[in-house]
């Protein structure tokens, strides 16, 4: 454990933790847009910028990627930081004026309008979808391509990716909701990745519940028979309850018969 100061409070933190994690643990609020505890942070949106003072040197750093150090003094809420966040929000608002997460952030920081010419994008290029696909799913079906203002998230050569299993993790972590997963009948479509998947029908309730490709991948990755994935989560829970009840019943019977 090490000791540092955040917003005037002396705080004990785990060695190797980030400033953001530590602050949140102690209920100090730092706003974020591209942070998710399940995946590594990139420090892309910079909304979590804080002032970090080490000795007599002060600098501004993104809390999500800055490790705690003994004796650091962190200020999360100064005028400089607020002004910086406001400009960042204006920049994002100009890029994605219709995205709710950014509108909410603007509202919170009292940014009424953006000063810049507006565009109509919905992706802030934080790359969380790319990282979840690589780090959690283990597929890397999408990646960031090009650089600078031409940067975008794309599948290889802008064609349907053979690595994509249609799991939709990208859509789950996306802070702006710009990745849409549509399930109609036995078909799942992720338009952004030009991907279409056949869905598996639950052997019990008949509902289409997950892409076959994803279930196949899971069976392989977890080294389980494909049969394990023939019923949906709901039915599995019900089935679990039934078998548990039956187990209890038979145990009771055993006890009864023994007595």
């Amino acid at each position: 454990m090490i000791t540092l100061t955040i917003d005037g409070r002396e705080i004990k933190a785990k060695d190797g933790a980030t400033i953001l994690e530590t602050a949140r643990e102690h209920k100090i609020e730092i706003p974020t847009l591209c942070y998710h505890e399940a995946i590594s942070s990139a420090g892309a949106c910079r909304i979590c910028s804080v002032e970090v003072i080490r000795g007599d040197r002060s600098r501004i750093a993104a809390a999500c990627v800055s490790p705690v150090e003994p004796g650091l003094v962190v200020k999360t809420n100064t005028e400089v930081i607020t002004n910086l966040r406001k400009v960042l929000i204006e920049l994002l608002l100009a890029r994605c004026p219709k995205v709710k997460a950014i509108q909410d952030l603007a509202h919170k920081f009292k940014v009424k309008k953006t000063d810049f010419k507006t565009e109509d994008e919905d992706c802030i290029l934080c790359g969380m979808c790319v990282r979840v696909c690589e780090q959690i799913v283990g597929k890397s079906a999408i990646s960031l391509v090009n650089r600078g203002t031409k940067r975008e998230v794309a599948t290889p050569f802008y064609e349907a990716s053979s690595a994509c299993i249609g799991c939709g993790s990208c859509a789950v972590v996306c802070p702006t909701g710009c990745i849409k997963v549509e399930d109609i009948g036995d078909k799942r479509t992720i338009k952004k990745w030009k991907a279409e998947f056949k869905l598996q029908q639950c052997k019990m309730c008949g509902k289409y519940f997950a892409p076959e490709a994803q279930l196949e991948y899971l069976a392989k990755a977890l080294n389980l028979p494909e049969k394990e994935f023939e019923i949906c989560q709901n039915c599995r829970v019900i089935l679990g309850k039934i078998s548990k009840a039956e187990e209890q019943k038979s145990e009771q019977m055993k006890k009864l018969s023994l007595s």
């Binding site: 990139a42 910086l84 802030i124």
Partner: protein
């Protein structure tokens, strides 16, 4: 053959001296990229052909860049015991004439740039002073220069290890490996005051010490040769002209921090530098100066070349590491610093080409000597590539502390065509524009940064009265917009928006509040960006706002561009009383916008067709075209 002892070195040194100063006439052509670009290849062939034809027994050799790139192709002719003259602006014809003149002793002083002398030249071969030709040290361009990093550039065959050793090369490494402990090497570099020449100016000794102290068996040394500032080519010249100095510097650095493997990260747009490095590394290996048990000391070191694809951001050290590892060249937040966690997570020190080229010289001549040059906090010399609207362009190595005025007006020879000086831009796209009122500033990390600019890696662009400062700020921003990796919001979106505001001003659509908006945005981009690219990107805007605010106001309030550059804010006029209808402008105009009105009658300009390209202005001999 393998070089493992001091005796070996001394023996090679003798051989090298014979190669630099042979008993036969020697003709050397400057064949760095600047030479090739101006036709050194053809000059070399012409000389070779003429020598064969006339059956003259002269040696034909090549060398790197002597610095005076504007006067390339340069050809040096050494006649043992007689003369050693460098000729400028050679053409194949002129060069053949020089070969023809070898027999009759005509030295053609009218084509000469200067004559050279070298204390290393054996007395019996030493050239005599020739009248009418200035000495190298007397030229305005070289007078105030002091060459440490460029000490061998243009004086030796870069691919010949013997010539490098003849000039004192590898004696520093021998001393380090035979007499010094790693800690002593670090102490010596710290004492010298050497700071990173890539731009940020971090003390090299402290960087090495951090690398030394970092835990871990495997450590790396990386030479950052990803030079990318527009108009800057110092590192390329060192790699092309004196690659062994960099390799020796790297080997010393590796010994100091305890590393056995290094990389040179060089952009593939420098094919000649890459090729020269390949040969250098192969030769050094063959000579036992890279590889196992160097100088029988038990110290091993190998170097690999990692070629970059030329992204500007890869000069930033964390992006560079990602690129060497084969990942997308994007920066990450520091700490951890590369000296703690670098290449593949191992402690890594990254030094710039010029920094490393200084190292052997510091070891040879001592930290005190080096620390005696320069200012209180900036020691030694710095190489600049002086370009732009200046009389003498080329590579310039000056002692720290020299003033910008001395550089521009003495070494540079002042502004071209006797125009008025406006600003000098240092530090490339991350630097700033310094006005005439600050030309007294010394070349010094802190002083330049106080003025809002940076030392940077050594770009120096001189601008005259015809340069529009808003146009320049916009140019640098457009470069950075293109080169930003796009990872973080302030850099990617912020630079784009700054450009939008500047474009409005340039097009005459600016409002006074735009200046405040620019300042606010620039501050946020500088504060919020992930790496130094974004962190310094607003500098061109901030310094032009600071020193040339009146130009911004003229664009916005009066809708005028004082330098007459911004097309939306200028118009062309025919001055009727001066025009005699000679129709030169009519022939030149690509738009057919000028109408002939009869002999001796002034022409008419059709503004609806005019694209304000300025061709007519250049064509007119009577000053009858005006821009307002």
């Amino acid at each position: 053959m393998r070089i493992s002892t001091l005796n070996d070195l001394e023996r090679i040194k003798e051989k090298g001296l014979k190669s630099i100063f042979p008993k036969k006439t020697k003709i050397t052509v400057g064949m760095a990229t600047c030479g090739w670009a101006t036709g050194a290849g053809k000059v070399y062939q012409a000389i070779s052909g003429k020598l064969k034809k006339t059956k003259q027994k002269a040696i034909l050799a090549r060398t790197g860049c002597l610095g005076f790139c504007q006067r390339e192709p340069l050809v040096e002719i050494f006649v043992p015991g007689k003369s050693r003259v460098v000729y400028k602006e050679m053409t194949p014809e002129k060069a053949q004439q020089l070969v023809a003149d070898l027999g009759n002793g005509n030295l053609r002083p009218e084509w000469a740039l200067c004559q050279l002398s070298d204390p290393l030249c054996p007395e019996n071969l030493a050239p005599k002073e020739v009248e009418q030709i200035p000495q190298y040290e007397q030229l305005d361009f070289y007078k105030k220069q002091m060459k440490i990093a460029l000490r061998n550039c243009g004086f030796i065959d870069p691919e010949n290890i013997k010539e490098y050793i003849a000039k004192g090369g590898y004696f520093a490494l021998f001393r380090v490996l035979s007499e010094m402990k790693p800690e002593q090497v670090i102490a010596e570099i710290k004492k010298s005051g050497l700071r990173g020449r890539g731009g940020a100016g971090f003390p090299t000794g402290i960087k090495w010490e951090t690398g030394r102290k970092a835990a871990g068996e495997t450590k790396y040394v990386i030479c950052n040769a990803d030079e990318g500032d527009p108009g800057a080519y110092m590192d390329r010249s060192v790699l092309e002209g004196d690659p062994y100095s960099v390799v020796e510097g790297m080997t010393i650095a590796a010994y100091a921090i305890g590393s056995n493997a290094g990389y040179i990260y060089v952009r593939d747009e420098y094919p000649l530098a890459v090729e020269t490095l390949r040969k250098t590394i192969a030769q050094a290996k063959k000579s036992g100066l890279l590889g196992k048990n160097i100088f029988n000391s038990g110290f091993d070191f190998k170097i690999r070349i990692s070629r970059g694809a030329g992204a500007f951001v890869c000069g930033e050290e964390t992006s560079l590491l990602a690129s060497v590892e084969g990942r997308i060249g994007e920066p990450r937040q520091r700490p951890p610093f590369p000296a703690q966690q670098g290449l593949w997570g191992k402690p890594t020190i990254i030094n710039n080409v010029e920094t490393l080229a200084n190292v052997p010289a510091i070891i040879t001549r001592g930290a005190d000597w080096y620390a005696g040059i320069g200012t209180a906090k900036s020691k030694g010399t710095k190489v600049f590539s002086m370009v732009g609207k200046v009389q003498n362009t080329g590579l310039v190595e000056v002692p720290m502390g020299i003033t910008l005025r001395e550089m521009v007006f003495e070494i540079g020879g002042g502004v071209l065509k006797r125009k008025k000086f406006k600003a000098v831009q240092t530090g490339g796209p991350s630097g700033g524009c310094i006005p005439e009122s600050l030309l007294h500033l010394p070349v010094d990390y802190e002083e330049l940064s106080k003025a809002g600019s940076i030392m940077g890696s050594g770009g120096m662009i001189v601008m005259d009265e015809d340069t529009c400062m808003i146009d320049i700020a916009n140019y640098f921003l457009s470069f950075l917009e293109e080169e930003s990796c796009g990872k973080c919001v302030p850099c990617r979106e912020g630079i784009k928006r700054m450009r939008e505001i500047l474009t409005d001003i340039i097009e005459g659509k600016g409002k006074m509040e735009d200046i405040k908006r620019l300042e606010r945005l620039a501050t946020a981009v500088a504060q919020g960006s992930l790496c130094a690219l974004g962190g310094t990107a607003p500098n061109p805007v901030l310094t032009t706002l600071r020193y040339f605010r009146n130009e911004y106001e003229a664009h916005i309030k009066d809708k005028k561009c004082p330098a007459r550059v911004c097309k939306n804010l200028i118009n062309y006029f025919i001055v009727e009383r001066k025009c005699n209808g000679c129709s030169l402008c009519i022939q030149a105009c690509p738009q057919k916008a000028i109408i002939f009105k009869g002999k001796k009658k002034p022409v008419k300009l059709d503004m609806s067709k005019c694209i304000k390209c300025g061709t007519c202005l250049d064509a007119c001999k009577r000053g009858a075209i005006e821009v307002r």
